[in-house]
């Protein structure tokens, strides 16, 4: 057990070093902070200052869309780069299991996204200075964001295992995450109900939507079902990543 944790840590550490020794990390963090600030303060029916409430709703409402592009940008290289460089052959002939490598890489990127979220703390300080927001709701929303980022990231991890081309991996991942967002939107659910009369298929598709599950967190509700949704999305995607990687090697 100790060695497997050690292996996961070693893989994760390498991945993080990889982010910070290339411009990827800095470009990402800058873009994320600029865009999230821009959307929070400038865009929408009720931007931050006109909203008239000490809350971060305007910030969190945009995050699923911002993450739609930024998280695949973080995750697209995870396995495609390994395959392009051929280092996957080194990594998987080391005395570690494919699982440890998959989890290590995923955790490193997730930690990186957590850091990006952490850097938005000045927003929290600002609303606390301006008024007295419900910090419980804010905390809850952050937890939801982190889980959502993890879900998107696991999907990117999966798509990056499919191809050695990072651009293809990025596009597939955006499409996959977009589906996860749109599955619960009325146009999609209406379209699905036209296709089929079976209600449970429509409901099933709608329940795959991250938006539905993210809403609870935004209201400050930590629902076990939402938690299970995100964790199982992560688990399923990482498991599929493992299957795909094994498939490539089996030829």
């Amino acid at each position: 057990m100790n060695t497997s944790l050690g292996n996961i840590k070693a893989v994760a550490k390498r991945e993080l070093i990889g982010y910070f020794s290339s411009p990827v990390a800095y470009v990402f963090l800058t873009m994320f902070l600029l865009l999230s600030g821009f959307f929070t303060f400038m865009v929408g029916r009720a931007p931050f200052f006109e909203f008239g409430q000490a809350s971060l709703v305007t910030f969190f409402i945009w995050l699923p869309w911002l993450f739609l592009f930024l998280v695949p940008a973080v995750g697209m290289r995870l396995w495609s780069e390994e395959r392009r460089l051929g280092t996957i052959e080194l990594l998987l002939t080391m005395p570690i299991t494919a699982w440890q490598a998959i989890v290590g890489k995923f955790l490193a990127s997730w930690l990186f996204l957590a850091l990006a979220l952490f850097l938005t703390i000045p927003l929290v300080l600002t609303v606390n200075y301006l008024g007295s927001p419900d910090n419980g709701v804010i905390f809850c929303s952050y937890v939801g964001c982190l889980l959502m980022a993890g879900g998107y990231l696991a999907v990117s991890c999966l798509t990056s295992a499919i191809t050695r081309n990072q651009v293809v991996s990025f596009i597939l991942s955006v499409v996959g995450c977009l589906f996860l967002i749109l599955a619960g939107f009325p146009p999609v659910t209406e379209f699905l109900s036209k296709l089929t009369n079976t209600q449970w298929i429509v409901d099933g598709a709608a329940s795959l939507s991250v938006i539905t599950h993210f809403e609870g967190f935004q209201k400050g509700v930590l629902d076990l079902r939402d938690l299970i949704f995100f964790l199982s999305l992560i688990g399923f995607s990482l498991f599929t990543t493992g299957v795909i990687l094994r498939g490539h090697r089996a030829g």
């Binding site: 550490k13 390498r14 070093i17 460089l85 002939t93 005395p95 570690i96």
Partner: protein
């Protein structure tokens, strides 16, 4: 240490490796020869556990690669083809990472890194990013990675590819020295490498082993093996051919080159001719006839010729006929 039994691998309908079996013990260096696409890399990838075999088995030490991959992989050091390395790391960072995955901690790790850096002459680039390294340095970095845990089994896929002649010589020496205590398999296109570093060689073609033996055994299979090459003055080619064909130990004489002052010819022995008999016969004839011998030696056989004759596609061979 390495036991490969009936190993096969198919990619879709294509059989890349077909029933390959061999063993490599400690103290042996096995050269793996074959044309491009013969299945060398695929075999090595199965030995190191990167791809699972379609049939057959690989065991390293007492561990089966499919049943117990982790302890088996622990015994192996592997240099994959084209020496991949993480381009976004420094040489030190890369070696540190691989040592960590090999389970080395603290002082042990530092010592191990220091040792391989010295062995592979990486001091000057230690804190340089892998991306900026020349091909030779990158290759040596990846080679250093493969020996960092002083493994009992080394699998090297084209270890001298992309190195300059001095570095090639260095790496061959290193393989030979390490081969005294380890079981080593390495693949190569360069036949002189086999003679320089291997105790045994296997030639593989279209997924199957077509020859297996020590370098000198393989050379014996060459057409010219045992033939005597002679350069002599004071005689013309016709007379030389006539006299030599009278020798009981000679089967055939061919003139390779005729110059104003000397004739170069190759004499092929009779099948049951004893070692050295033909050369002695030629010398005695030359002494009797008063030829001035400038050169006289028995051919050991040439590996490249054996390699070509074994692995040449049938179509090419037929065309030549």
């Amino acid at each position: 240490m390495i036991r490969v039994q009936n190993l096969s691998k198919s990619f879709g309908p294509k059989l890349a490796v077909n029933g390959v079996s061999f063993t490599v013990d400690r103290g042996e260096v096995l050269g793996f020869l074959g044309p491009n696409g013969a299945g060398k890399s695929t075999t090595m990838r199965m030995i190191t556990g990167f791809i699972p075999p379609s049939a057959g088995s690989v065991s390293i030490g007492e561990f089966d690669m499919v049943e117990q991959p982790i302890p088996a992989k622990r015994l192996i050091g592997y240099l994959p083809e084209n020496a991949p390395a993480y381009t976004d790391m420094t040489v030190y960072g890369f070696l540190n990472f691989t040592a960590e995955l090999r389970g080395m901690r603290g002082d042990d790790r530092k010592k191990a890194i220091h040792r391989v850096v010295e062995m592979c002459f990486l001091e000057t680039v230690l804190y340089q990013s892998v991306e900026t390294l020349s091909k030779g340095y990158r290759h040596r970095t990846c080679f250093a990675q493969s020996i960092i845990h002083d493994p009992e089994v080394l699998v090297l896929d084209e270890p001298t590819d992309g190195l300059d002649p001095n570095q090639k010589h260095e790496v061959r020496g290193l393989i030979k020295r390490m081969g005294e205590k380890k079981a080593i398999v390495f693949s190569t296109h360069i036949l002189e490498e086999v003679e320089a570093a291997c105790t045994r060689a296997i030639i593989i073609d279209r997924g199957q082993i077509v020859a297996n033996g020590t370098p000198s055994e393989l050379k014996q299979r060459s057409d010219v093996a045992g033939a005597v090459t002679l350069r002599a003055g004071g005689v013309n080619s016709t007379a030389l051919g006539q006299k030599l064909s009278q020798l009981s130990s000679a089967r055939k004489t061919t003139v390779l080159k005729e110059e104003a002052v000397s004739v170069t010819a190759r004499v092929f022995p009779q099948p049951n001719c004893r070692n050295g008999e033909l050369a002695r016969g030629i010398y005695e004839t030359a002494a009797r006839e008063g030829w001035k011998i400038e050169e006289l030696h028995t051919e050991e056989g040439r590996l490249d010729e054996v390699f070509r004759s074994i692995t040449m596609p049938d179509t090419v061979r037929d065309d030549k006929k």
